[in-house]
Amino acid sequence: MDSQLMPRGVRRCSLPQFLLWIVPWCALLVFGLYGAGLCLVKGLNQTNMDNRFAFGLWIFLDLTVIALGAGAFFTGFLLYILKKKELKAVINSAVVIGFICYSGAVAALLVDVGQPLRFWFTFWHPNVHSMLTEVTFCITCYLTVLFIEYVPIVLKNRKLRQIPSFLVFEFELHKLMPVLAGVGTFLSFFHQGSLGGLYGVLRGRPFAFRDGFAIWPSTFFLFILSAAAAGPCFILLTTWAVSKISGRQLVRPGVLPLLGRISGILLVPYILLKSVDTLVWIDHTAPARGFAAHQFYAWKPFGEWMLFAEILIFGLLPALILLGRRFRERTGLLIPAAVLVCLGIAMNRFVLTVQTLALPTLPFDGFMTYLPSWQETATFLAVVAYGVLLYSLSFRYLVLFPQEKDLPQPRPAHERERAILEPVC
């Protein structure tokens, strides 16, 4: 019924099947919007956060999706600035993922910060001493860039492209894409860094506080590097998952290993720097603040295992797999490695957000525990549902993987060759 809206030459599931897929996600979205609405109307008393535990599930979600969405800027940078043409196969999908991640993060922030009608205050009365101001400016600007990058993909929809003015505008906008890719890289570089820097400057939280270079703590650079490393892995994973779910070959065989390789190349210096940073922190930064590093790990369940897991299991191990050509060309190793990288990033953001706030820093402080309320969890799930829905709709009606129609695809077994030729005589 909706086949006229789908890209020509590709097959998608039937409309009833698609509706069956999106209905549960729509239900989840509605449930989440109800939870978010309660928080906006009644206030943050609907959450389990308080003045001391001010960062919870939402900030963890924001930091994680912003890191995973970094694939958009990094892929754009590699394609449009460094001319890595092979990445054209996934750039549209990367833009959609980036747009989903950033818009989801901004939506969660609107609920978290509250008073959404006063969003413009931050631009009109900026506190230029706060890293969060830089983050706000960068994320808003970058979301605008992602929206502009998403527009040409939408305008190339099969129906919309029949309107000449849309197609001409898309063409002219696409020619200027390197400018937007450059701006996106600049903005991403700073807001990814500032999100990390935000923790590194917390002098009152010696677990997170770091020394650094000039005005930037080491976490500034670690966040940039880790996001750039995780972004391609998340694109790799989504491409693989969508291919499995849809039963379609979406990209040529070399594309996923290439994404893995890019990720591996960035992951190695990240792990190296992270290890050096941890050693400096153990040996110098934490003692200078009056703490022995092992004290931070005395509070279960946040034991030393988390540090080792983050660096070795979720860092070094996938880095080695992704760097080894023979390893990354085996899907059975490539996909688990990409999963580990994404989990590692999520764990890193969790540690800096939740563990940092849970640990006592003053003699009269106790170890704090925090469990999100159902309203917080519902809002979190709403962002996930929104992402799945927008991606599903984009995959169905837009060209996310240009190589798809050039690749051999399985045809339904019931279809048989038909007589289209008749003998000459």
């Binding site: 960068c138 099969r158 001409v168 701006v183």
Partner: protein, 255 residues
């Protein structure tokens, strides 16, 4: 205070760059329409979205290249590679070809009065035969190379037939007359360098037939064409609607 200006100045500069970029795209799009380039731009935007198998260079048909994808949207007039290869060929003896062929399955026949007649080749005709509706341009209208020449609606699919030349429509025909458009040149004479001719036509048509057959082959099975043949009179009636749509896209270069 200086740092405040630097910080805010930097980000408002970024915002300005974003706004200027979008505005520039709007202005350029407006200029394209004003300079009557819109149809050419539409084709340029469409061409890279066609499957790679639809974009092969004409010199693949003659064996001059084993694999080459056209990077000029089938406009060989400015292609240096094409000019060099044609110059290398021995001069063709005999009269000029009676018909020239466009990759969108139209033919062009020069007439003694300086006009050209445009029709559909046998494969195009068998796909677009007996349309439910035909939308031909009016006499006096201008068509642009690779812009829409006319439209035919068949089995619910609107087929856009590409114009093989730039020209002004002087008369329109129909399927029953065997031709669709008569064009006169816009500036003196027609430029035909981009059209297929002579020895290129037969291998191109054979390849198109092979593509037609391949597009309909079942999963995991190579396309076969045991002993040749001509397309059945109405292919649309012989295949599923999904295949029909995909096939039309392939043959008429629809995005």
């Amino acid at each position: 205070m200086l740092s405040h200006f630097i910080f805010l100045g930097l980000f408002y500069t970024v915002l300005a760059i974003i706004c200027v970029t979008v505005a520039a795209a709007f202005v350029r799009a407006f200029e394209d329409f004003r300079a009557r380039r819109a149809e050419a731009v539409c084709w340029e935007a469409t061409f890279p979205d066609l499957p790679a198998r639809d974009r092969v260079c004409r010199h693949e048909f003659t064996g001059e290249f084993k694999h080459r994808t056209c990077d000029r949207a089938f406009d060989c007039r400015e292609c240096q590679q094409h000019a060099a290869l044609v110059a290398r060929r021995p001069a063709e003896a005999g009269p000029a070809p009676e018909r020239y062929y466009h990759r969108g399955h139209t033919w062009v026949q020069p007439e003694p009065d300086g006009t050209v007649t445009v029709g559909l080749d046998p494969l195009g005709e068998s796909l677009a035969a007996g349309p439910e509706a035909l939308e031909l341009p009016e006499a006096g209208a201008r068509v642009q190379l690779n812009g829409p020449g006319w439209y035919a609606r068949k089995r619910g699919v609107r087929l856009r037939i590409l114009a093989p030349l730039d020209g002004e429509v002087v008369a329109t025909g129909g399927a029953d007359q065997g031709w669709y458009l008569k064009l006169k040149p816009l500036d003196g004479r027609f430029e035909m360098r981009h059209l297929l001719r002579g020895a290129e036509v037969q291998p191109w048509m054979a390849r198109e037939m092979e593509r037609l057959h391949g597009a309909l082959a079942p999963a995991g099975q190579a396309a076969t064409m045991a002993d040749g043949g001509m397309p059945v009179a109405d292919i649309a009636a012989a295949i599923s609607r999904e295949d029909w749509e995909a096939l039309c896209g392939d043959i008429f270069l629809l995005p």
